[in-house]
């Protein structure tokens, strides 16, 4: 019974999505047709669609899509792991937090685009400089989420673990991690969006591969249909990776208030 309600809800939300995108495309089409907008400024939906289909049929997009996805996933995983690690260590060792936090805040507030050339100088124009940028964008939100999560553990849960004479590792794996999950997942969802932005920005500024590269290439050759098609692929990549995190969240937080059916 529950399942059915869920899938009906899912179908309805897909329908609502389709409707909103449909209306958007119709408005766009009408605007281009009625106002006679030149194709290099704003091509009509069919032109963009054609360019999109060509990318996939001819297969030119796959290598780029793969490169970007690979960077996003790798950077997100490493950044997420480091965020959890630093968040934990900062909560446990106050001195480290006082020492390192200013640098992290600096890294967080510095405009990332300004750092890309520096990363290129340090790590080359290949994978590493891009993954480093992504890590720098994912790390901070995840670290904040982890710290918030760890601080939200009820004091009596810690007391319970003490009464049971649990080891530090047991406290971490059995309660700290689970209690951190709600805040952690909220920050991971910010992180995955940041990761896609980071990958695109990095490719856009350097490199010969990736969706960001397609965008600069299309833009510099005034191939606006291809540019828009590239943007669509990027958005889809963003949605898919975000949904992947969301699904994992639903799985792992089945017990949480926010997931009550």
């Amino acid at each position: 019974m529950k399942k059915k309600g869920k899938s009906a809800g899912f179908l309805r939300s897909v329908g609502e999505y389709a409707l909103s995108i449909g209306v958007f495309i119709v408005v766009w089409w009408l605007y281009v047709g009625l106002k006679d907008v030149p194709a290099y400024i704003l091509p009509s939906p069919p032109k963009v669609f054609k360019s999109l289909v060509e990318m996939f049929v001819k297969g030119s997009v796959y290598a780029h899509l793969w490169t970007t996805s690979y960077e996003v996933v790798l950077g997100f995983l490493i950044g997420g792991f480091l965020g959890v690690l630093f968040g934990y260590v900062f909560i446990k060792i106050d001195a480290l937090k006082t020492m390192l936090m200013p640098y992290l805040i600096f890294l967080q507030t510095a405009p990332k685009i300004a750092l890309v050339p520096l990363f290129v100088v340090w790590f080359g124009i290949g994978l590493v400089s891009k993954v480093v940028l992504i890590i720098s964008m994912v790390l901070f939100p995840v670290l904040s989420g982890m710290m918030l999560g760890l601080e939200s553990i009820p004091p009596d849960v810690r007391n319970l673990m003490k009464v049971l004479k649990a080891t530090k590792w047991q406290v971490f794996t059995q309660v700290e991690m689970q209690y951190s999950l709600p805040a952690l997942f909220a920050s991971l969802k910010v992180g995955i969006v940041q990761a896609v932005i980071g990958a695109i920005v990095a490719e856009w500024m350097s490199g010969k591969q990736g969706l960001g590269y397609i965008l600069t290439y299309a833009s510099s050759t005034y191939d606006t249909p291809m540019l828009l098609a590239g943007i669509i692929v990027t958005i889809v990549l963003g949605i898919v990776t975000y949904q992947a995190v969301s699904v994992l969240e639903d799985r792992m937080l089945y017990w949480h208030e926010s997931k009550k059916a």
Binding site: D156, N159, Q174
Partner: protein
């Protein structure tokens, strides 16, 4: 230090230092000897240091001075029941109850069977797979008691475990608690606000006074066991309550 008593407190003081205000003397010169298998209640006005005392006995806090010795020495096993049930929300009833066995790596077949018995005794058998959010307050607290009993620690510390429950549920759980206590022969130290609850459950009631938290009087409750509805209707039950109310003032 080990002791012939289940717990022995000598000259216990606890002072909370505060930069802005005067120091709080939470406990002053507490001396107490608790025999194995005894049911002890601690009662007194709010803020008199009951929780502080229990936390110190439970090793969750350090006394400023004084000594505690347990029957089994420094690594005495204890069960602690908190005011809120503190169940882990992602674990179901069974998993919460057996959590101590997992932590202490004591998931033997024998212990699992004992746990099933306890769950049965607490009327939770049918709810083994329910998540905490699906339980009533009374049921949660029962799970938390079973959890505290699951690893068979000889000493059970309880801080107002039924404080948040309605009077009927509380009376009912009190009777269940006594049954479990009689079966398992544990030493229980029970903090409460309710005079009737203290009288009904205890062998001895420790009455504390506020600021500084001191033991005012220890009252031995000489009512027959097993206790039940008959006890509550006994005129001596009412007399004990009246007497205790008089001391607490």
């Amino acid at each position: 230090m080990s002791s012939e008593y289940s717990v022995e407190l000598k000259g216990l003081n606890k002072i909370y230092s505060n930069l802005l205000k005067e120091d709080t003397v939470a406990l002053k010169d507490i001396n107490l000897q608790i025999k194995p298998g005894e049911f002890i209640s601690i009662i007194g006005p709010s803020g008199c240091g009951k929780s502080t005392l229990l936390r110190i006995i439970g090793n969750l806090d350090k006394p400023t001075s004084g000594t505690i010795s347990y029957r089994d020495g420094a690594d005495q096993q204890m069960g602690f029941v908190f005011q809120d049930s503190v169940l882990l929300p992602w674990k179901n009833v069974k998993q919460n109850a057996e959590f101590p066995l997992v932590i202490q790596k004591k998931q033997t077949k024998e212990n699992e069977e004992k746990l099933d018995e306890l769950l049965e005794l607490a009327g939770l058998s049918e709810f083994k797979t329910a998540l905490p959010r699906e339980l009533s307050g009374g049921m949660k607290q029962r799970v938390s008691i079973v959890r505290a009993l699951s690893y068979d620690a000889p000493l059970l510390l309880m801080d107002e475990p039924f404080g948040a429950l309605d009077a009927l549920t509380r009376d009912h759980l009190n009777e269940e608690l006594l049954k479990i206590w009689q079966k398992t022969k544990k030493t229980v130290i029970f903090v409460t606000h309710s005079i009737e609850e203290a009288t009904f459950l205890s062998d001895r009631v420790i009455v504390m006074s506020a600021r500084p938290g001191q033991i005012k009087e220890v009252v031995t409750i000489d009512l027959a066991r097993p206790r039940g509805d008959v006890t509550r209707n006994d005129p001596r039950f009412a007399e004990y309550n009246k007497y205790l109310r008089g001391i607490i003032g």
